[in-house]
């Protein structure tokens, strides 16, 4: 039986591109059933970190363990428990929404992983009527919904989202908050980055700040609750201000 890929344990992850040091020594942990928001200025290295955490890029140094195993040692069954929604939707424009989902479902089935029925997932994300439409005709927001649907359809243990609120309308944002709450209740670990402070604070259990290549600060909802309602948002806002002050 494929072992769980949670917790995620990243230790001293470092990455440079030429002379530019993007990540210096990032330490990050994710546990089951928590939503962690990652904030940082433009160019702070959030997307680079996500690429490393999902195996798209090898770090220059550092270690990454999922469920106690190194990422490169995970078999296909374990990889099926990881879902990543990148900043771009990464969908086949020549296929319909249903075909995009069914392709991934079939690929997962060949790897021994199950997937929710495409009709059910499309309906959940408000795309039932657009199921047969070509993705090339979708708006950016519809594409974002479909990308999120594809990620969630596999019931992942670890869900990594790079600015998922981008291009979503108000209904889409509310839907995503609902979905992430459901994922958390299901026991998934969720890591997401966003410049949408308000939405992030609504859903995250913890907000961490990436500055100058390291995790520079952290605010936990549990800590803030002892200080009264709204304190988590205020402390997250302070962390946000600090992170964005390092931009440029």
């Amino acid at each position: 039986m494929t072992a769980s890929i949670i917790p995620l344990e990243a230790r001293k992850i470092a990455q440079r591109f030429g002379r530019k040091v993007v990540l210096r020594a990032v330490d990050l942990e994710l546990q089951a059933g928590e939503v962690v928001g990652l904030i940082g200025a433009n160019g702070a290295g959030k997307t680079t970190l996500f690429s490393i955490l999902t195996g798209l890029m090898q770090p220059d140094s550092g270690s990454l363990r999922l469920g106690g195993s190194f990422l490169e040692d995970l078999d296909l069954g374990a990889r099926a428990r990881l879902a990543y929604v990148a900043h771009g939707v990464q969908l086949y424009p020549g296929l319909s929404a249903r075909e995009n989902l069914e392709l991934y479902a079939a690929l997962r089935a060949a790897a021994g992983a199950s997937t929710l029925a495409s009709a059910e997932v499309l309906a959940r994300f408000g795309l039932a009527e657009a199921a047969e439409g070509r993705v090339s005709a979708f708006s950016r927001g519809m594409g974002q919904r479909l990308a999120l649907a594809r990620a969630v359809a596999g019931a992942p243990e670890l869900l990594i989202l790079d600015e998922p609120f981008t291009a979503l309308d108000r209904a889409g944002r509310e839907l995503l908050v609902e979905v992430l709450a459901e994922e958390r209740a299901r026991g998934a670990a969720v890591l997401l980055s966003s410049h949408d402070h308000a939405m992030l604070v609504r859903i995250a259990d913890r907000v961490v700040s990436l500055e100058r290549g390291v995790i520079a600060g952290e605010v936990r909802r549990d800590d803030a609750s002892e200080l009264g309602e709204g304190s988590f948002a205020a402390r997250a806002a302070a962390l946000w201000s600090g992170a964005e002050a390092t931009e440029g």
């Binding site: 890029m57 090898q58 550092g62 086949y92 392709l103 991934y104």
Partner: protein
């Protein structure tokens, strides 16, 4: 079984998208016609002996150009939609991506060759052996294209995920595929000259294909995500 199932799924998806647009196939076929027209104008009056020497070169030069065009466009689509990176995150065997992409490029080259071979046989009467021995020709051309595709798919995929510019596909591809193309050319000439050991040339092509596909499969993941040396990087 999982590998071949995933290979088939990816190939079928690629083929479905191509059949809806015919973008790459139409371009390959049209480009092949253009090559034939140019060869007709420039080489059409060659004496018979020279035709036997020229026809193989014309065929494999055309395959090289059409192949580079096809590889560029096939992976351009992936780059534009960033779907290759999505596949790398999914529980998909990397080799399935390699074989599926290679199969698609091979299908497109087959369409191009289906235009080129009869066209060249018409242009160069001395090359009529290409049509007189159709199964031998088909086997030779198929084996030749497999070798080309094995190398081309490997490096085109690497460039697609590394952010390399499209022009690099051609710059890198031509020198790397030249040995394969030269072997194909020699084998084709042997066919046209009715060489008694032409089957031996097919055997050599098949052996080279096995090596190239094996090396390509071995290097594919490394080229995509830099897996080589990963274990040395653990803290």
């Amino acid at each position: 079984m999982g590998l071949w199932r995933q290979t088939w799924l990816l190939f079928a998806s690629e083929l479905r998208q191509e059949l809806r647009s015919f973008e790459v196939v139409a371009t390959a076929a049209f480009y092949s016609l253009v090559m034939l027209a140019l060869f007709a104008l420039s080489l059409g009056v060659l004496p018979r002996d020279a035709q036997v020497a020229a026809a193989p070169g014309a065929l494999w030069l055309s395959v090289a150009f059409v192949g580079a065009l096809t590889l560029t466009r096939v992976f351009d689509r992936e780059r534009e939609a960033d779907t290759l990176r999505a596949l790398l995150c999914a529980p998909v065997q990397r080799l399935a991506i390699y074989f599926a992409k290679g199969a698609l490029v091979l299908v497109v080259l087959a369409v191009a060759v289906a235009v080129l071979v009869p066209g060249l046989a018409l242009l160069f009467p001395a090359a009529s052996a290409l049509l007189e021995r159709p199964w031998l020709t088909a086997g030779l051309v198929l084996l030749g294209c497999i070798g080309y595709v094995a190398v081309g798919t490997l490096f085109a995929a690497g460039l697609a995920t590394s952010g390399g510019k499209n022009v690099l596909i051609a710059v890198i591809l031509y020198p790397l595929t030249t040995p394969v193309l030269m072997l194909n050319l020699v084998a084709t000439r042997a066919l046209l000259e009715h060489h008694p050991d032409v089957n031996a040339y097919l055997g050599r092509l098949a052996a080279v294909d096995v090596i190239l596909v094996g090396v390509g499969a071995w290097l594919f993941e490394s080229l995509l995500v830099g897996a080589v040396g990963t274990r040395r990087r653990r803290a």
